[in-house]
Symmetry: D2
Subunit: 367 residues, 4 copies
Amino acid sequence: MAGSTYGTLFKITTWGESHGAAIGVVIDGCPAGLSLCETDIQSFLDRRKPGQSRYTTKRNEGDKVEILSGIFEGKTTGTPISLIVRNEDQISRDYGNIKDCYRPGHADYTFSEKYGFRDYRGGGRSSGRETIGRVAAGAVASRILQQLGIEVRAYTKAIGNIVIPENEYDFSCISQNSLQMPNQAYALRAAEYLEECMKNQDSSGGIIECSITGLPVGIGEPVFEKLDANLAKAIMSIGAVKGVEIGDGFHAASANGSSNNDPFRTASGGHDIQKATNHSGGTLGGMSDGSTLILRAAVKPTPSISRVQQTVNTSGDEIELSIHGRHDPVIVPRAVVVVESMAALTLIDMLLINMSAKLENIIEFYK
Amino acid sequence: MAGSTYGTLFKITTWGESHGAAIGVVIDGCPAGLSLCETDIQSFLDRRKPGQSRYTTKRNEGDKVEILSGIFEGKTTGTPISLIVRNEDQISRDYGNIKDCYRPGHADYTFSEKYGFRDYRGGGRSSGRETIGRVAAGAVASRILQQLGIEVRAYTKAIGNIVIPENEYDFSCISQNSLQMPNQAYALRAAEYLEECMKNQDSSGGIIECSITGLPVGIGEPVFEKLDANLAKAIMSIGAVKGVEIGDGFHAASANGSSNNDPFRTASGGHDIQKATNHSGGTLGGMSDGSTLILRAAVKPTPSISRVQQTVNTSGDEIELSIHGRHDPVIVPRAVVVVESMAALTLIDMLLINMSAKLENIIEFYK
Amino acid sequence: MAGSTYGTLFKITTWGESHGAAIGVVIDGCPAGLSLCETDIQSFLDRRKPGQSRYTTKRNEGDKVEILSGIFEGKTTGTPISLIVRNEDQISRDYGNIKDCYRPGHADYTFSEKYGFRDYRGGGRSSGRETIGRVAAGAVASRILQQLGIEVRAYTKAIGNIVIPENEYDFSCISQNSLQMPNQAYALRAAEYLEECMKNQDSSGGIIECSITGLPVGIGEPVFEKLDANLAKAIMSIGAVKGVEIGDGFHAASANGSSNNDPFRTASGGHDIQKATNHSGGTLGGMSDGSTLILRAAVKPTPSISRVQQTVNTSGDEIELSIHGRHDPVIVPRAVVVVESMAALTLIDMLLINMSAKLENIIEFYK
Amino acid sequence: MAGSTYGTLFKITTWGESHGAAIGVVIDGCPAGLSLCETDIQSFLDRRKPGQSRYTTKRNEGDKVEILSGIFEGKTTGTPISLIVRNEDQISRDYGNIKDCYRPGHADYTFSEKYGFRDYRGGGRSSGRETIGRVAAGAVASRILQQLGIEVRAYTKAIGNIVIPENEYDFSCISQNSLQMPNQAYALRAAEYLEECMKNQDSSGGIIECSITGLPVGIGEPVFEKLDANLAKAIMSIGAVKGVEIGDGFHAASANGSSNNDPFRTASGGHDIQKATNHSGGTLGGMSDGSTLILRAAVKPTPSISRVQQTVNTSGDEIELSIHGRHDPVIVPRAVVVVESMAALTLIDMLLINMSAKLENIIEFYK
């Protein structure tokens, strides 16, 4: 089935595979009147670009975006915005040892079984390059959120066992280290750990956290289109993500109601209702509750490692495999902007959908 | 927006609130020719019925399902199946102290803000009774899965800090204890812990695990309609769920590629490809990989506790609240069948969708 | 597949077959705050009720609607509204000669081929009774449209060759004749023609026209979700409809651009732009253009006639069939309210969707 | 809202406006294993290309399609197929008199009102060039239908009052005249009529008919996703179409049941059930009935005419407008392949959806 479209009112359709001619996205349902140029999108794409540090692949692609439609005189027209990034770095390679085998931790086997064969060049559609379309669209979604006073900020919370405690966050650091961590000391320790992984021809997992502020109360549609449910889908659809949690998440499982419930209070004389704590992570009943929305994604270690692995080839013979070439020892830092993008895309869609919740608003709108 | 419909080809629409006239579901897209009677559905509903143990509410509802359409001579006809459960236990109550305040951990505040007011009777649409429609539909989905040789089994993995290690599972125990745990000794300890919670006028969270066997390889649609992404949404849409993980889940974040990757091997002379381990939890690239699919849901503690809590009333005054009446000290045991239902509904939809993946299958089908 | 759900933000799911226990609809996405009681819906249902004249079946059903959810203290809550009508008139009948044969002009053969068998009682899901759900939902949609100053009015334009010319419409007559025609003289001639059809054991087709006033400009979403495209689908999905046209419709095919184009003019000093004529029937580029929207549906003659027909039984033998029992000689009058309902449902959905067209509106909404 | 996506399992998303950088489509859900190259698509695009006769615009664009993704070693991979056509003929033009006024019969006014402003270059998104994406996707859909033995053939039935009677069709002629008519004599008369229109600085409407053979019985999903309902939407979504009918269509409105019903018969000894006539046009109950599916679309006259017209400018002044430049005197011949494409896209989607109608088929599939 068509699985490459996401969203209802603000809808994106991504396309393209790792070593095809190009990769892109069509954004449909973007409201008219938004100022938008290629630079706005490029700045997002640059955050996921390879080759930015020792811990990201050396693949040297410009990943320059081109806007093909939907903009007139610098503004969105309400019609589909088509964005394209040419794949420049399609070196004629020998895929020999990958072509005929199923790499552990990759989608080679499942793609082959589902479709009867697969595009084996660099992972095809299951490559991390698929996220280019998501990020380009996320840039557009983020620009709208910004105008609504909503900020989406993702960062690396953990790499391997190096986990930054919440009370040691310093958000001003995030862009100062290539690992996107909100604490320079932890970033240093994480870097050392990654050096060790590389020395061992191995890779590491990690955790990305995303914090969203400025959301109005009540965003999300009970009972299946809840905000947290849609965020969970959006984030879990990113290649290497194996878990998603909101607020206290899995820690809530071992908590008691008396400590997990967030008391309500009024900030200023009875009119500004707030929660005194935020164990819920910004949602109640699947709708935004006015607190900061907090979600975390567990990212598995890069499956491509140069260490020898046991696997099977397409003829069914058991073989040994060693994967060479350029591979990040950790997926997390480059996936930060992907998490941010998927969160932004989910939010904008649900914000638009929420506009029809109350009859009085509709009457007011069409008056 | 319409948020009460789930699924694409196999689609359910649930309706009804806690203290309304009835609760129900319409199942649309159920294939024709399935034997189905009320008993098949009732057995699922009975698993979530209140009043079955000390740890579930005393509310004594029959929750008897009636089939209103879609069945002819004992078989599904391919047309919508409408199922209804009357709310029998609508005691005329005084909702006085709940009516005018926002209960911590509940959706009172978010519903009021989104829609302008709320049905305050027993939680309205955000009540756990909303899951009756999910479970009734899940019973139908499960019957089809059964015929395809697919088994979905959920159980309680943890209550509070009482966590059953994987190597101590005994699935034959699950129905022998009211907590739905696959280990009698742990069930006993969990029961003791819950007694303590109740004595403290408190409640506990827990973890539900779901294991799915017999799935064909390749189920799930890249890149947004992945099997794990849709499962994450389905499970996160259940009221009290705060986190979802697949396979090693959050543990993968601290793992290395060399240990997290599952080697492939061939079982019998090169034709039956399998994974030697199952860290991935049964999905690769968002598609089923032939191993057992494992997912876990973190369930928060019951928010309704009789202990005094701080909160705010609808006039914005800070007040103290003590919630009386019948409330489970833990949501987990009754939510087990809800997790199983949402998983079954997701699987059947994705299985139907997968049928059109290969041209040769379509040609064969229409020959 | 699930084919019984219609709409995106304002979504309905109908269920039920002719001789099952009940028939109903779930309305999801209805904005909160609409006053709604059973009488509001009943008045719509009564317009399609059988037994109101010589030309509608004698079947004497009360068709009383019950609201099962979604209303609290007389207002919609934003949650799903479940409506049910019990089938009271399920006389234990002998379906003998219908059971085993394929009636010409009916869906017996196609249902059997698609699903492997069929519910042969009174047409099952393909019965005209299926429209009860549509009309009940249409009543709710119409109430909202009314509050937005939008009026949807359908009526019988033609029965057989008796066609009322546009310049002889008198809308005050519509409810004064059982044929729902806006001209008493034509209604009389049509009645005479139907008497003749009945004498000949035959039936007649006709044309329903629907006129919609008060629509804002710009409703409809290019390029596939155009207002006229969605109306065409909605109307063509009604059982006996074989054609749909907007404005001049098929007459535009033989027209010239110079006469078919509607000149624009300004009504009052340059600010109220209008079309001087309305050949387009109220849409330009698939969006409402501020003029009255005019659509017409061609309705085929009732396929059930008592005259002897040639057909085939389920064993494949060629047989003669004579259909007895209660059947309207014309479908049109009772389908008028169905057309009105499907138009109203389409309009309300597209009005809600249109709210997110402009960025400035979204910013204003969330300020 | 996102209105540029069509289909459920076989989904297309079109993008691009008349004078933007490019126009294209993403086809998602195309089954894997279909041989496909640019030539296959180009041959369809060439049928709608301008400049092929006196009656189509002189705009000389190559309209060369490029495949950007979804194909590997000559076959579809099951992943999105991105197709792009660069707009080569973007002469720097003076849009002066069009820029500031609302052309009668065009979408200038409705686009401006909906989105706040419009891309006035050549009609923007409401240009006929938008159909390039539809036709490119239609070429792919048609290739699959071909492999299933289904043929979709559209042609010009009428231009102005020149209507070819059904018994004078000669399908071998269609490609022999630039008007795509299945009768050379009528084509000649139509050409003469068009010369006259051009001399009068005027344009003409017409009727496109589409005949579909080889469809299995039972395609279409009651009650809203009926085959005829979806075809009606698909065809009505084409720019200039003002009416759609199936089989006898509007003529059925004046017919009697006895003549409109199609008797069933058995062709060869009781096993091959057929209809003796085909007034229904190939559908019963909204599902294909085994007969040839016949649909007709009423196409309005080209709204751009050089004759002087009354209109209003964006300041609200009443003005006179004369539209110069290259404009077809009739839209019909170039829209023939668009109708064929939209029909093919609808059919392939409904064929895929139909595969899950019967439980036995699903069990067989997954055995």
